[in-house]
Assembly symmetry: C2
Homo-oligomer: 313 residues x 2
C-alpha cells in the first residue's frame, strides 16, 4: 500500500491492474488445490459436533452423510398418499412458473414466481398427474415443528426448517445463501451443482429489476415489474448450459456435482453457489442455520468487492 | 472479470486500480468490526475442545485463558534456582545480540543472532546479573518431553514445544507464524502487541539479504552476510515506534496489546502478526500446532498477493 495516496501513471496503473487480475484469476485454483476434493465426499454416519465443525463447517467444505436420517420415521411414512391423508386439506402457498424457474433471470428481469394459495390435495393432484397443467408447481413450506428433530450438529437452533416438494421441471437457479444448510432428502433425489465461494471471480453477477410471473385469464404468464423496487443482484448464467461467449471467464470455474438420495443429508456450506434439480415428487427437508459473520465472511466480501472493482473497466 | 482478457485504457485502469486500493484499505476495518474486540478477551477457565474451536480457532481470534495452567507443578517449582540445580550442567544454545533483536531488520539486512553454545548455569549467571555482559541473551529450547503435558485442545499433537527464558532487553520483532500458538507463561510476564492477518494491507514487508551477528575478539558485534542466500521477506517496522513518514499506511492499523501473566495462557491464532517483550527472567513454554491450510489460508494468500500487486506501482 506504499504510495497508495499518490496518483499513478496510466501505464503503471495498467500493469498493477493486470497483476490484480492475475491474482483474482489464480485464486480459485489455489483455493481448490488446498482444500477441495474432485467430488463431494461421502461419509457413512453422523460425525460428532466437534468433528463436524473441524472437518466441514470451519473449512467450509460440503459433504454427504449417508445414514444421517436412518432414525427418521418420515423416511418410510412420508408417501404422497400419506401426506394427502394427513395434510391434504391444508392450504399451502405454491410457487407457480411457466418454465420451472422461480427466482431466476428471464428477459433481463429477476423474475419471482406466482405465489398461488391452494389446497395441498390440489397440489398433489398435479404432482401425481391426476390433473394436467402447463405450469410448473413447487412447494416450499416452513415447518418449525421439525426444529427439534435434528441432532445439534451446529450447536444452535436452526433459523428455519423448510419442507420441499415439487415437480421434476422445478429448478432452483444458481445462487448462494447466508446460511449453513443441512439438506435432507426423504424420498426421491436431488441433484446439486455447486461452486465454492472462491469461484466468485468466474461467476457473473448483474443487477436486475425485479418482476413477478402473473397468470392471465387465458392461462398464459406475463412478467409484471415490481413497482419502485430496488435492483436485485443475481447470476444470469445457467451452469448446465453456460453461455461462454458472453461469460468466457466461467470456463475456468469448476462445478462439483452430486446426487443426494433418500435417507442422505448434504451439508451445503454457507456462501456456496448452488443450482438444484430433483426427481419428480422428491420430498426434502432442509435446515438453515445462521452463518458466522467472521473472518471468512469478511474475506468473501473483499473477494466480491474486488471482482466488481476489476469488472467495472 | 468480464473483459479481463482485453487491454484497458490508462484512465480506466487508474480508476479500477483506485477502486481496488479502496477495497484493500477498507478491508481491515470491516474485518475488525465484524469479528474483533477492542482488547484480547480474558476467559477464566479452559473451554472444551468444541467450544475452543468454535469460538476462537475457527474465527481466528486470540484470547487469554487465566487458569489454564493451575495444575502445572512448574508454576511453583520452576525458579531460576531450581533450574540451575536440575539443568545447570546442560549445554544450551543461546541467541546473543548487541541490541536484543534476534531475527529483525537492522541496517538493511535481516539479521539473525549469534547462536552461542554455553552451560545453562553460565546463561543463568547473566540473567541473575552475577556476571555482566553488554550483549543480550535469550534461550529458546525445544523440549518435547512437555508434549504430553497439555490437554488436547486442538485435537492433535503439537509440532513443537519450546521453552523460553531471557532478559528484559530481548525483544521478538513483529512477524507471523504458520502455527496455532498456545503461549503459557510460567513466571514473570510477556507483553504482546498483535495485529490480525486482515491488517496485512497496512503492514510493510520488504526483502532483505540475510546476515548474522558475529562477535569479534574485542567483544563488538559485526553483521556478516550469509553467502549466496535468498532474500528474506520481513517487516521493517517497529510497532512501538513506527516510522509513519516512511510507512504512512501503518497509521490505519490497529494493534491489540496484552500482558500474559504467570499461570495464564495466550491463544495466539495462526498468521497473526506479533511483537513480544517480557519481564526480566520471564519463563514461558509455548506449543506450536500446524495450522489448517484451508480457505482462510487461501484468502490470506490472496490478500498478501493483492497488497504486493498494488504496492508495485
Amino acid at each position: 500500500m506504499a504510495q497508495a495516496a499518490g496518483g499513478v501513471g496510466g501505464e503503471a496503473a495498467a500493469a498493477a491492474l493486470r497483476a490484480v487480475r492475475s491474482c483474482l484469476a489464480a485464486f480459485p485454483a489455489e483455493a481448490r488445490e488446498l482444500g477441495l476434493m474432485e467430488s463431494v465426499p461421502l461419509i457413512d454416519n453422523l460425525p460428532s459436533p466437534l468433528e463436524f465443525y473441524r472437518e466441514w463447517v470451519c473449512p467450509n467444505k460440503p459433504c454427504i452423510i449417508r445414514n444421517a436420517l436412518s432414525h427418521w420415521p418420515a423416511l418410510k411414512k412420508w408417501t404422497l398418499r400419506y401426506l394427502r391423508k394427513v395434510v391434504g386439506s391444508k392450504m399451502v402457498s405454491v410457487a407457480v412458473t411457466p418454465n420451472g424457474y422461480a427466482d431466476a433471470v428471464y428477459q433481463d428481469r429477476f423474475v419471482m414466481p406466482e405465489e398461488r394459495h391452494m389446497l395441498f390435495s390440489n397440489f398433489l393432484d398435479i404432482v401425481e398427474k391426476k390433473v394436467t397443467s402447463p405450469s410448473v408447481f413447487y412447494v416450499q413450506k416452513q415447518c418449525s415443528n421439525l426444529t427439534e428433530e435434528f441432532p445439534e450438529l451446529l450447536g444452535k437452533k436452526p433459523d428455519a426448517v423448510n419442507f420441499w416438494l415439487g415437480e421434476s421441471a422445478a429448478v432452483t437457479s444458481l445462487h448462494k445463501d447466508h446460511y449453513e444448510n443441512l439438506y435432507c432428502v426423504i424420498s426421491g433425489e436431488k441433484h446439486f451443482l455447486l461452486h465454492p465461494p472462491s469461484d466468485r471471480p468466474f461467476i457473473p453477477h448483474k443487477l436486475y429489476l425485479p418482476a413477478t410471473y402473473c397468470i392471465s385469464e387465458d392461462g398464459s404468464f406475463q412478467v409484471v415489474d415490481e413497482k419502485a423496487a430496488d435492483e436485485v443482484p443475481w447470476i444470469p448464467l445457467d451452469p448446465l448450459n453456460p453461455d461462454l461467449e458472453q461469460y468466457p471467464e466461467y470456463a475456468q470455474a469448476r462445478p462439483l456435482q452430486c446426487t443426494v438420495k433418500a435417507g442422505e443429508m448434504l451439508y451445503l456450506p454457507s456462501l456456496w453457489f448452488h443450482h438444484v434439480q430433483q426427481s419428480h415428487g422428491c420430498i426434502a427437508v432442509n435446515y438453515w442455520y445462521d452463518m458466522e459473520y467472521d473472518l471468512k465472511y469478511s474475506y468473501y466480501q473483499l473477494l466480491d468487492s474486488l471482482t466488481k472493482a476489476v469488472t467495472m473497466v
